[in-house]
Symmetry: C2
Subunit: 220 residues, 2 copies
């Protein structure tokens, strides 16, 4: 979502990163006056409209930011790719939190080791292989072939995050998905994305986020 706003040069306020911002988001979610409350962050406030769920936010922003083609068929396809990435992201999260999001990693470490082993052995190659195959069947360097879309930004973010979280697994797998890696590199080189990645606005990957590096979850 941040990548889409940045790539389009959109004017936005990242409330979660302001001082007291997270508390502000929480208060909003609790407020009884909101007719259509989101279930959880993130959510976008665009004028009076409140939109929750990252994929839904991108569905809304895509056409407005020029990050999706016009036809309905193309929009549904890009959204479908985004929803597949959303599923993949849940699996990344659950590889370190297989029992409960409300418990610390340290409280579910044996289970995480088992789940992460399945993730890097089975699921990660399956997802990477899927996107590689989509790129192969639609030659031109983006998931749509030639046209750029927010799904390309999201695939970039997945690869960047996975390189941080499971560097050993990615080192083994990257030679099998040259198309996805090339797309990652092209996204990173887009001028506004490059400026964003170099800025203070980009939050470095860390152990509070979805992409986390724990050496024991990324064995040789």
């Amino acid at each position: 979502m941040r990548l889409a706003l940045e790539d389009a040069g959109a004017d936005y306020v990242d409330v979660a990163r302001l001082r007291g911002g997270m508390a502000k988001l929480e208060r909003f979610l609790e407020s009884r006056s909101v007719e259509r409350p989101p279930f959880a962050p993130p959510f976008l406030k665009a004028g009076k409209q409140i939109i929750g769920q990252t994929a839904n936010i991108l569905l809304y922003l895509g056409p407005r930011l020029g990050l999706v083609p016009r036809s309905e068929a193309n929009r549904l396809w890009v959204h479908q790719l985004q929803l597949t990435i959303a599923d993949w992201l849940v699996e990344v999260h659950d590889s370190h939190h297989p029992i409960a999001g409300g418990l610390y990693y340290e409280e579910q470490k044996p289970e995480a080791m088992r789940r992460a082993a399945d993730f890097v052995t089975n699921r990660l190659p399956k997802f990477l292989g899927y996107f590689e195959e989509v790129l192969r069947r639609n030659p031109g360097g983006t998931l749509l072939g030639k046209k750029f879309s927010y799904a390309d930004l999201s695939l970039f973010q997945m690869i960047a995050g996975l390189r941080y979280a499971v560097p050993r697994a990615m080192a083994r797998l990257e030679s099998r998905c040259p198309g996805a890696i090339a797309l990652h590199d092209r996204v990173a080189a887009r001028p506004r994305i490059a400026a964003y990645l170099a800025s203070q606005r980009r939050i470095p990957f860390n152990r509070q986020g979805i992409f986390r590096h724990y050496r024991e979850l990324d064995p040789r």
Copy 2:
């Protein structure tokens, strides 16, 4: 997805349930000639268009079947609710498969007992409470207030499935979400839905599906 097609009286073929249907779906997914392959079932073939991801299929079908209002704001809101239900459904699945979808339940039973305990104690009340609150803030008996949408069908399916999977937990929680239960009952009484539920086309809940009943995962 089946509920939406049935409620609208749409003409559709449920390929997965034909003899050899699952193998046919698998062959389709593997076929190299498909330019935009879905990651996994279910997917919808509508004319030449192939649409994957349940929420995306409903995004496509909603307006065509009269199961969502016309304005973009309403469509995004209904889709947001659907995506929240999709997240909830993943948590239902993972309560019996916390380690790997590719392993049997019996191979991950201790982990499932831990995850299911968190699910029924924390997550299930949170999701039910959220939808109850949405119904409370939009009086009229549906998630949109008065207008009916595919999100109402999906909430019905969640409640029906959860009553099968975790009957004890639901017995404890239902008095706290009377609005959601009343909506469930109204959906079940819609003539085409009632006919569908009584038909052979409705697949009974079972231990191969996402909603599974294991007594040990639903303690007193």
